[in-house]
Amino acid sequence: MLKLDNVTKVYKVGAFGGKVFAAVDGVSFDVQAGEVVSLIGESGSGKSTIGKMILGLASITGGSITVDGVPVKPGKDYYRHVQGVFQDPFSCYNPVFKADRVFQMIKDAYYPKLGDKEWDERVRSTIRDVRLDPDQVLGRYPHQLSGGQLQRLLIARALLLDLKLLVADEITSMLDASTRIDVLNLLAELKERGLGVLYVTHDLSLGNYLAERTVVLRRGTVVEMGATGKVFGDPLHPYTRQLLAAVPRLHAPWEDAAPTQTCHYHENAASGAMFEAEPGHLVACAQLDACPK
């Protein structure tokens, strides 16, 4: 459904925009309907930039992004199907708007002809779908709601549309453990209803919990991707191994990943293409920086 093909994003940097910097460099992957794909990488690796390009909030420098074959086109028709939820729920809400107002804006923009009563019913049932009590959250200002409640309200707002794809960028990093699991379980339910979800995170344990497939990003390029069980269970790229070793585990000491000297995929990756280690499990050349391409 969502397809990124050799996507590149170049920012101009420096005092007069004299230098260029590739925040995203030749990224290709897809997200199917009814699937959660997690996009993992350290801070600055380009995750949010990818999310913003999909949502039409940043221009695409090269390559293409399509949803059901149609290129990204910011506008009502596109946002009916594609929505994003972001890290800091408080910044998405105007603090002087009550929760109801946020839903009313959706109605005005997308369903102006619908009767008020019918709309109210729909809002309430959607709020119940994200397991909130409409009477408790409607009529409240954002600062009167917890982070988890706000995050769920934002998801509810997206669900009122005819949604196909949800981009969730670090939506759980501000939440504590118990609330976080509720929000993750909600995303899992949405996927079961046929939604495609791109789950952006730097927390590997959350990606592992939720996603069918995992894409590991490093400095704007994909170093490894495949079924989550494969990428996490049998990581091939030294960077993936290094990330996994840094994850704090409850019942095991911190490991130090052994640095890999040689790359098995070096010859195969001479063109910069990824090597398919097994069906669907792709890995980039680990010596890419040195690779003459």
């Binding site: 118990s178 344990s205 996490f232 840094a246 409850l250 019942h251």
Partner: protein, 313 residues
């Protein structure tokens, strides 16, 4: 003994009444101990940290005492606390990364800060500390915005411990960082303790897995009170408070496949601290609550150094 906190009560004055953010908290810390402080958002972690160093205008010290290295901290007296701040107790606040003055180069900022405390800069010492946290000497010539989140966080650590305080409070210093940076910062914190730059440390976070790697002891708070305090391995392997157990159960782990199985959050939400219920504050969410729980459970030492406030632990 490094720190001794006795029945500490700190409330926030609001229009609707007092928010009882710390409501009778007692614990102690040994020399060299790293204490992990965990609990869900709003339970009072930051309030505890701030109480030990600087109360904001709305905070009121309602009762209880704090002793550091045998001396009582005048926590309710902002002026008298000046003798202790930075020298004896230092805080790395939540969101401190964004709080660095953006118009000053880091080196100048450090010098000014030391001067304001009547101390001079020992450049050799500063450099050796920078290298301990793997920062190049050149950071001193840079502006804060020129550093990544992880670098800023380590810089703040170095700055706040320059005068070798007895107690360092680190509030959510790793929460915004990715795993590799988090690990580096966490190890640097342990290094500071080992090198004696700080005697003991309170490490505040809601990431229990991370705390278990750093802390000697973990203390779990719930709604303004202590729920459980025990050596880190005991909290992780043999938690006794129902709240600690549920918190641990809600953590997803890498290396586990979750195809069918779903984890559960803790149903319900914590009580309002404006008017907290009598008895055990976890009662409305506790799966094993019984009649006795309408009485407040005392903190009991059920095994050496393992303290739990629960009738059924």
């Amino acid at each position: 003994m490094s720190l001794q906190v006795n029945d500490l009560r700190v409330y926030y004055r609001t229009l609707k009444g007092d928010v009882k953010a710390l409501d009778g908290v007692s614990f102690s810390m040994e020399d060299g101990e790293i204490l992990g402080l965990a609990g869900e958002s709003g339970c009072g972690k930051t309030t505890l940290g701030k109480s030990l160093i600087r109360m904001d205008g709305r905070m009121r010290h309602m009762g209880g005492t704090v002793e550091l290295d045998g001396r009582e901290l005048p926590i309710g007296d902002d002026r008298r606390m000046n003798d202790f701040r930075f020298r004896e107790v230092s805080l790395i606040p939540q969101y401190s990364m964004s709080a660095m003055n953006p118009t000053r180069k880091i080196g100048r900022m450090v010098r000014e800060l030391l001067r304001s405390r009547g101390a001079t800069l020992d450049l050799d010492e500063l450099e050796s500390r920078l290298s301990l946290v793997e920062l190049p000497h050149a950071v001193l010539d840079r502006y804060p915005i020129e550093l990544s989140g992880g670098m800023k966080q380590r810089m703040v650590m170095v700055i706040s411990t320059l005068l070798d305080p007895s107690l360092l409070i680190a509030d959510e210093v790793t929460s915004a960082l990715d795993v590799s940076t988090q690990k580096a910062v966490a190890r640097a914190l342990i290094g500071f303790r080992d090198a004696g730059f700080v005697k003991s440390m309170i490490f505040v976070t809601h990431d229990l897995a991370l705390t278990s790697h750093i802390a000697d002891t973990i203390m779990v708070m719930y709604a303004g009170k202590l729920a459980e305090k025990a050596p880190a391995t005991a909290i992780v392997k043999k938690p006794r408070h129902p709240y600690t157990k549920l918190l641990l159960d809600s953590l997803p782990e890498v290396g586990v496949r979750y195809t069918e199985k779903r984890l559960a959050g803790i149903a319900g939400s914590p009580p309002s601290l404006l008017d907290p219920p009598a008895g055990c504050r976890f009662r409305s969410r506790c799966p094993i609550a019984g009649e006795e729980c309408v009485q407040e459970p005392p903190m009991a030492e059920i095994e050496p150094n393992h303290f739990v406030a629960c009738w059924k632990a």
